[in-house]
């Protein structure tokens, strides 16, 4: 046998290695895995940046508030909610510079005769973080070819006898869009802001029960529908682990607790912000 024939035999042997159809799918899976991970990392980075900005905001709040009142303000009435709670747009921060634009509606809450000063300060702090980040992006752009767009609006998602829940939706668009949610819950009796931690404080076992309920719902939804993906820490090594008490939440009109996660927090970006309703059979307030 000639050397060339030997090589051809070898080549034939090689190209005849059967390639299963699964090879293509596995290739795709690997690509998808890397992309999702990358997206999450980008968001983590921008969240960290916002965190730093937030710390800076705390120091300059007084100045900011004064400056901003000159910038722009629009007073606008929102339909009165119930007899006692009222939410109006206190002011709107609007700006446009080249590829940069911002429109941030800042609401103000008043509940009966309660002093809502503290809640309104939190709401304003939150908005000021967004404004500050926006201004930082504008001043940091020396070449003038950057993009940054931030839009923030609010809606009252629940108003019952006990609580008023005000949801702030913010969309930031840089290279890709990110959506974030912040819900302010106000105790109507005191006019004070309450967190999930507060309402779980005297409910032993609730934290675990909510955690389990969310995990079960994630798994059930994924089993039923292939297009849904959630990250569960015990399976993916990253993602939802347990309820910390810092989560966004509100009570729906049936009085059920609804937990709201930000985009990327427990699911890949295409899922957006996701919500889980915890049945009353699990926890009741």
């Amino acid at each position: 046998m000639e050397g060339k024939d030997r090589l051809n035999d070898l080549k034939e042997e090689y190209v005849n290695i059967p390639v299963p159809a699964a090879a293509y799918d596995r290739m795709k899976q690997g690509i998808k895995q890397a992309k999702e991970e990358k997206r999450r990392r980008i968001i983590m980075r921008s969240l960290k940046r916002t965190g730093a900005a937030a710390a800076a905001v705390l120091l300059t709040i007084g100045v900011m508030a004064n400056l901003s009142s000159v910038t722009a303000s629009a007073m606008e009435d929102i339909p009165v909610l119930g007899a006692i709670a009222k939410v109006v747009t206190f002011r709107t921060f609007e700006d446009k510079k080249g590829n940069y634009d911002a429109k941030i509606d800042i609401p103000k809450v008043s509940i009966g005769n309660n002093d809502s000063g503290q809640v309104n300060r939190s709401i304003e702090d939150y908005a000021n973080q967004l404004i500050k980040e926006y201004e930082k992006q504008v001043t940091a752009d020396f070449t003038g070819d950057g993009h940054y767009s931030v839009t923030s609006s609010y809606e009252v998602i629940a108003d019952n006898e006990t609580y008023l829940s005000l949801r702030i939706n913010t969309t930031v668009i840089m290279a890709s869009g990110a959506e974030s949610v912040k819900i302010f819950n106000i105790d109507k009796k005191t006019g004070k802001e309450i967190s999930l931690k507060d309402i779980l404080a005297d409910k032993p076992g609730y934290q675990e029960a909510i955690t389990e309920s969310i995990k079960t719902q994630m798994k059930d939804q994924m089993a039923k529908d292939d297009s849904l993906t959630y990250f569960v820490k015990e399976i993916d090594g990253d993602g939802f682990d347990r309820i910390t008490g810092e989560e966004n939440f509100y009570f729906n009109k049936n009085g059920e607790l609804v937990i709201v996660f930000d985009e990327y927090e427990v699911a890949p970006g295409y899922m957006g912000s996701v919500e889980f309703t915890i049945p009353k059979s699990t926890v009741e307030f």
């Binding site: 030997r6 090589l7 596995r26 690997g30 890397a34």
Partner: protein, 159 residues
């Protein structure tokens, strides 16, 4: 630009998945491990693409990742601490038979990869050097040694 190279990598991976699978299979020697290597390689390519400085090297760089992933995989599977490249074949005799399977088994991993890339995937010596992260002369030497083992003599212009 960055977006573009990612897309390029993705289409290379998907269009040539059979090539990468066969290469992985030549190391793993079984379907299920080869599939694991393929997925892991695709993941690494997309994850580390920003580290690739010269975009014209993309296709050889993908080969390199598949090869390295295969080697890592074998090392884990065999629970070895030494590189298979360090393993010396005890006898350097020539293979005397004509069975392609036995013939290829006569080569070590590295020699086999060079033969595969050179003659079955038609890569240039420079590209093979790049994929294996060694210099061209080393590739040439190893290639001749490999061919000698399986008693293949070629006119120089083939190489």
């Amino acid at each position: 630009m960055k977006q573009k190279i990612e897309e390029q990598a993705e289409s290379l991976l998907l269009n040539n998945y059979e090539k990468y699978y066969r290469l992985a299979y030549s190391y793993a020697k079984n379907e299920s491990d080869a599939l694991d290597i393929v997925q892991e390689s695709a993941y690494k390519v997309l994850k580390d693409i920003s580290k690739l400085k010269d975009q014209s090297l993309l296709s050889t760089w993908i080969y390199r990742i598949v090869i390295n992933t295969s080697i890592d995989f074998l090392r884990k599977r065999n629970n070895e601490t030494v590189s298979i490249y360090d393993l010396e074949i005890p006898h350097e005799d020539q293979y005397q038979g004509d069975d392609p399977k036995e013939m290829i088994a006569f080569l070590n991993e590295e020699e086999r990869t060079i033969v595969i890339l050179k003659f079955f995937e038609d890569l240039k010596l420079e590209e093979i050097a790049d994929a294996l992260n060694m210099n061209v002369n080393t590739v040439k030497t190893r290639l001749y040694r490999a061919l000698k083992k399986i008693r293949v003599t070629l006119e120089t212009e083939h190489v």
